[in-house]
């Protein structure tokens, strides 16, 4: 009887095959929760600090829970950012190029995914190897090139306008656009040939099969690419500053200039209650950081499934 019980307890604790016992589960959940905390730590820390008053921020004995919760930091941050205008600029700077990216990626992906033609492997090889070239390498020559870029005899005047983002995207040179082309390529490749052949027998032209058969079937690809492209253009500050100068100020750019102003003010010495500025302090900085990522977090919460799907369906893991 005793032996039987012991074996039972043993089985509950350690499981039959090593990964279904209670001990294993407890360890796994503890680790996962701990790691989740580390993942969220910067955001949580910023969030609580952004709710603190100046006195609490300077008091080193307070690290997590503010004595008095205040929204003053957010108020200051909103005012400093000129939130309405900056948000509008951000949306413009990310949505226009996203549309261009998605449209051209769909066309190019269809060209590569649906047709067999001589030199296809070579061209795709060139495309992928161009993608491996780091973006830093292209910063400087890009600005040099865009200064007087002509395509097919048309003067483009890319610099100092949003065109510097969406025109290259139209020609397959958006931010990390190769990934999007490959996603569309994968999606178009798995559509059965019979569908297109049937349409062609019925007399539909290639353009028509593309518009009425292919595009509706790859709606998820549009969503995935659109979301990623939006996020990447939103986060792009170095290129935005190079191209737009001061014509457009996005939320992340604004945050950057606040931070550089803040760090130049307090580059040396301790901050005391007398010397701390009511605008340039860490509470406002964190509030501003959270404001600038809030739109992305909202997008992510609603479209989380598609971001994850993007990695699953791009075909990089497996086929």
């Amino acid at each position: 009887m005793m032996k039987n019980n012991k074996a039972k307890i043993r089985r509950i604790l350690f499981g039959r095959s090593g990964n279904d016992g209670l001990v294993f589960k407890v360890v796994l959940y503890t680790l996962l929760i701990g790691i989740s905390f580390i993942f969220l730590y910067p955001l949580l820390s910023m969030f609580t600090k952004s709710l603190m008053t100046l006195e609490d921020l300077i008091n080193t004995s307070i690290s997590w829970i503010p004595r008095t919760v205040t929204l003053q930091n957010y108020k200051t941050a909103f005012e400093w950012l000129h939130f309405g205008q900056t948000l509008l600029d951000s949306l413009k700077v990310s949505i226009y190029p996203t549309i261009a990216t998605v449209l051209s990626s769909a066309l190019i992906g269809f060209g590569f995914g649906r047709f067999q033609f001589p030199g296809k492997k070579l061209l795709m090889g060139i495309m992928i190897s161009m993608f491996l070239i780091p973006s830093v390498l292209t910063y400087i020559p890009t600005t040099v090139l865009y200064k007087d870029l002509k395509i097919l005899g048309i003067e483009l005047n890319l610099m100092d306008s949003i065109k510097a983002f969406w025109v290259p995207a139209l020609f397959g040179n958006g931010i990390r656009q190769t990934i999007f082309i490959l996603i569309f390529y994968q999606f178009f490749r798995i559509i059965p040939d019979e569908l297109f052949e049937a349409a062609e027998v019925d007399g539909a032209s290639t353009l028509r099969t593309f518009l009425t058969i292919a595009i509706p079937m790859v709606a998820p690809a549009f969503l995935i690419c659109g979301l990623y492209s939006f996020v990447w253009y939103w986060n792009e500050t170095s290129l935005a500053r190079l191209y737009f100068g001061s014509n457009y100020t996005t939320l992340p750019m604004s945050l950057d200039s606040f931070i550089s102003m803040y760090s130049s003010m307090y580059s040396q010495g301790n901050v005391t209650l007398d010397s701390v500025s009511s605008t340039y302090n860490i509470g406002v900085q964190y509030a501003m950081t959270l404001i600038s990522i809030l739109p992305l977090l909202i997008v992510y919460l609603f479209a989380q499934k598609w971001f994850v799907e993007g990695v699953d369906r791009s075909g990089i893991a497996g086929n």
Binding site: I35, F115, V136, Y139, T143, L145, M159, I282, Q304, G318
Partner: protein, 349 residues
């Protein structure tokens, strides 16, 4: 009664609008027909239909990928050539009405010599960056593998964990990481204040210590960089055939053996992929020293004018050379770790 009258009016109006649109479309169609006939396009179309299917397909394909082809020849390739030429020049500047000027012979390698010999501070930064990349990349891949394996277990709330692990993918940018490191948010206080580190130094051999300490000092950075990689591993793990595991279990394999003999060999292609991906992403984030030097010195006047005054201190040519050095570092890191994986996976073949 009124209720019926209004819809019928709307209906009439709709029919009118509809017939009008039809008419306009008809005119446009006729217009296009004439246009095609007189520009010779309809003749072309007829000829095109007579072509063999294979050539037709090729023409269609080229039409569809033409945006990319134009981009390749007008944007990407010129950028690449400009970058090479810039790195191999002495000065690279713009004069209004004249155009871009290049001084110096390309075969002198002026800028590379300068970086390697005359700029000890920058050289130091390059070495530090290379070390940093070389340490962070394998750690990211290993953490991603561990987290992928954990998420692949039968657990409740996998969706929630996955959501949390993937948040960094949308928030990650060089500025965000620079922001974190400036405010000491890259490590969790419990780790930073020594409870865990002292445990490590007590119980692990010295060689391990340094790597482990580096890992814990940057734990947030490492986890934040590993979002996509986790999903790649997870996708690979979920594609695996469960029957193989069952067969191995019947033969008496332990979990440990299952991992080393079945799971890991199957994941090796994904490990290569993740090494490449991590290196490229991490090396190009603007929080690393080389990228910062490039950002500051490539356009010192901040006007994008391309003037000669930019070139007095460092300038475009110097920055271009630096970016090629960064690229070389990336290639070396990728090559080294790929070799390590290859050698250590030889016994599976």
């Amino acid at each position: 009664m009124r209720r019926i009258v209004i819809p019928s009016k709307i209906k009439d109006l709709w029919i009118k609008i509809h017939s009008f649109i039809q008419k306009v479309l008809g005119y446009i169609k006729i217009g296009f027909q004439y246009f095609f006939r007189y520009t010779g396009l309809s003749w072309l179309n007829k000829k095109f239909k007579l072509l063999p299917n294979k050539i037709k397909k090729t023409i269609y394909a080229i039409l569809f990928i033409s945006p990319w082809l134009i981009g390749l020849f007008y944007i990407s390739l010129p950028i690449l050539f400009k970058s090479v030429r810039m790195a191999l020049s002495d000065k690279y500047y713009y004069i209004t009405d004249v155009g871009w000027q290049i001084t110096g012979n390309w075969y002198d390698f002026t800028q590379f010599k300068r970086i390697l010999m005359d700029e000890p501070f920058h050289f130091q930064q390059i070495i530090a960056t290379a070390q940093d990349i070389a340490i962070v990349v394998p750690l990211v891949v290993i953490f991603a593998l561990i987290l992928g394996l954990m998420l692949n277990q039968k657990i409740k709330g996998r969706g929630i964990f996955r959501t949390i692990f993937f948040i960094p993918v949308i928030l990650l940018s060089g500025n965000m990481l620079a922001n974190f490191s400036r405010n000491d948010l890259l490590t969790v206080p419990a780790i930073a204040n020594g409870t865990i580190t002292s445990f490590i130094t007590d119980y692990f051999p010295d060689l391990f210590n340094e790597v482990l300490l580096a890992a814990f000092g940057k734990i947030v950075l490492i986890l934040w960089l590993s979002g996509v990689q986790i999903l790649i591993f997870l996708a690979g793990l979920q594609k695996m055939d469960p029957s193989i595991y069952e067969a191995a279990k019947i033969d008496g394999a332990s979990m440990w053996e299952l991992f080393w003999k079945i799971t890991l060999p199957a994941l090796i292609p994904l490990i290569y992929l993740n090494i490449i991906y991590t290196t490229i992403v991490y090396a190009n984030l603007s929080n690393n020293a080389i990228v910062q030097i490039i950002n500051v010195h490539s356009d010192e006047s901040q006007t994008l004018g391309g003037t000669l005054t930019d070139e007095v201190n460092y300038g475009r040519a110097y920055s271009a050379a630096l970016s090629w050095i960064l690229f070389t570092i990336e290639l070396v890191v990728i090559g080294f770790y790929s070799l390590v994986i290859r050698l250590s996976s030889k016994r599976y073949e």
